[in-house]
């Protein structure tokens, strides 16, 4: 699996791994049952510490995106289309929330923010 990890971001490496694997799974690049590289393999491939990968996998496991089978490693979990939509919506909420908070702090009101979002949706 190709991940794009950088030390130049304020996002910790562990969070970068979680976000990128989650994106692979939600986009369907990694289907249900697909196996993830072992923790040691991933650590060695990405040149990061074993514990960093372990924590990232645990976090994805808590989200229900992957599961582990004893002695066999980690696999992408199966989930319904609804669940996939919920996860994608949750991810969107997480990334948009701080931006909206900031806009409110900078003096935009809710109508103005909705207008901007509306414009973006028409443009994409």
């Amino acid at each position: 699996m190709l991940l794009d990890l950088t030390d130049l971001s304020s996002e910790p490496l562990q969070a970068q791994i979680v976000r990128q694997i989650r994106a692979h799974i939600l986009a369907g690049n990694l289907g249900a049952g697909a196996d993830l590289p072992s923790i040691r393999k991933m650590a060695s491939d990405q040149r990061i510490s074993v514990i960093t990968v372990q924590r990232a996998y645990e976090s994805l496991e808590r989200e229900g995106l992957i599961h582990s089978r004893r002695g066999k490693g980690f696999f992408v979990s199966e989930f319904t289309r609804d669940r996939r939509r919920d996860l994608a919506a949750e991810k969107l909420r997480e990334s948009v929330q701080p931006v909206i908070r900031e806009a409110l702090a900078e003096g935009l009101d809710k109508e103005a923010i909705q207008a901007v979002i509306g414009t973006i949706l028409r443009e994409v």
Binding site: Q14, K41, V50
Partner: protein, 291 residues
């Protein structure tokens, strides 16, 4: 599984410097970055571990065995690279390697040749003609070619150019793939080890300031800004505090508890940003008592 390293109340006293008492454990499969400024005692500590210096007190077990100088079989499973290298100075690097090979059952000549190539060690040169960097490379090849279960590295990249330094880190990552090998990597430059290390230990003036999982540090430490009007704000986990009028900026070693306290105080506009491991290390070594 037995610990790769277990050290209890290790103490070494000099006229003007005391190391310890130090307690430190290292699990197999784990990389520990031992970080501290020059003169913190890193080299003394490692030399005590491998028996180059005799500790005044304390107990050290390496891979389950006491590091007894009279029964040196525990040395077969460790690799040590420090600034004190003993070579046969009139022999070539290659002959030095051949000679050492016979003492180690786990030695692989193939591995030695491969490592020498990757680290660009001039094998045909006599040891006495090798530069500082090349002498370190020779001892690295000696340490790694025997596939040790515990690697003790003391500033192993000193005198090396960036390409070789990167190659060494590659080699260390590969070493870890097998799963049960442990590395203790001492350096005053955290960035060398910041991706490789699972755990970090901070040594300063002979004492261990803190030992923690790197990921835990990254999770707990935050820079937090908030607005708060009235009077003094006392926050237990805060190691540095700047204030301009109602605006505060603090560094917290325990973001959860600081966040809770700020909410109780009624602080407004609480915002958090992540901190890099280097910034965190500097705060710890500056001696934030709360760290």
């Amino acid at each position: 599984m037995e610990k790769a390293l277990q050290c209890r109340s290790l103490t070494k006293q000099f006229r003007d410097f005391t190391l310890g008492p130090l307690d430190l454990d290292l699990e197999p499969g784990t990389v520990l970055g031992l970080v501290g400024p020059n003169g913190a005692g890193k080299t003394t500590f490692l030399q005590c571990l491998v028996g180059l210096l005799r500790a005044d007190a304390g107990e050290t077990r390496i891979l389950g065995r006491p590091n007894d100088p009279n029964r040196p079989d525990w040395k077969l499973d460790i690799g040590y690279v420090g600034d004190l290298q003993v070579f046969w100075e009139r022999w070539t690097a290659a002959r030095n390697l051949e000679f050492v090979a016979q003492f180690y059952p786990g030695w692989s000549q193939e591995r030695a040749a491969e490592l020498a190539g990757r680290l660009r060690l001039p094998l045909e040169k006599r040891a006495k003609d090798l530069s500082t960097g090349n002498r370190v490379k020779l001892s690295l090849v000696m340490a790694l070619a025997r596939s040790p279960r515990l690697l003790l590295l003391d500033e192993p990249t000193s005198g090396m150019d960036p390409v070789v330094r990167a190659e060494l880190l590659e080699v260390l990552f590969e070493t870890l793939e097998t799963g049960d090998r442990a590395i203790l990597y001492a350096t005053h430059i955290l960035s060398e080890i910041s991706r490789l290390a699972d755990d970090l230990a901070f040594l300063d003036e002979g004492r261990l300031r803190l030992r923690a999982r790197k990921e835990d540090l990254l999770e707990r430490w935050r820079r937090i800004t908030f607005r708060h009007g009235d009077g003094e704000v006392r926050l237990p986990s805060v190691v540095s505090h700047r204030r301009e009028g109602m605006d505060h900026q603090v560094v917290s070693s325990d973001a959860d508890s600081t966040r809770r306290q700020l909410r109780e105080l009624g602080a407004e506009n609480i915002r958090e940003t992540n901190m890099g491991i280097e910034e965190i290390a500097i705060q710890i070594l500056k001696g934030g008592e709360n760290a």
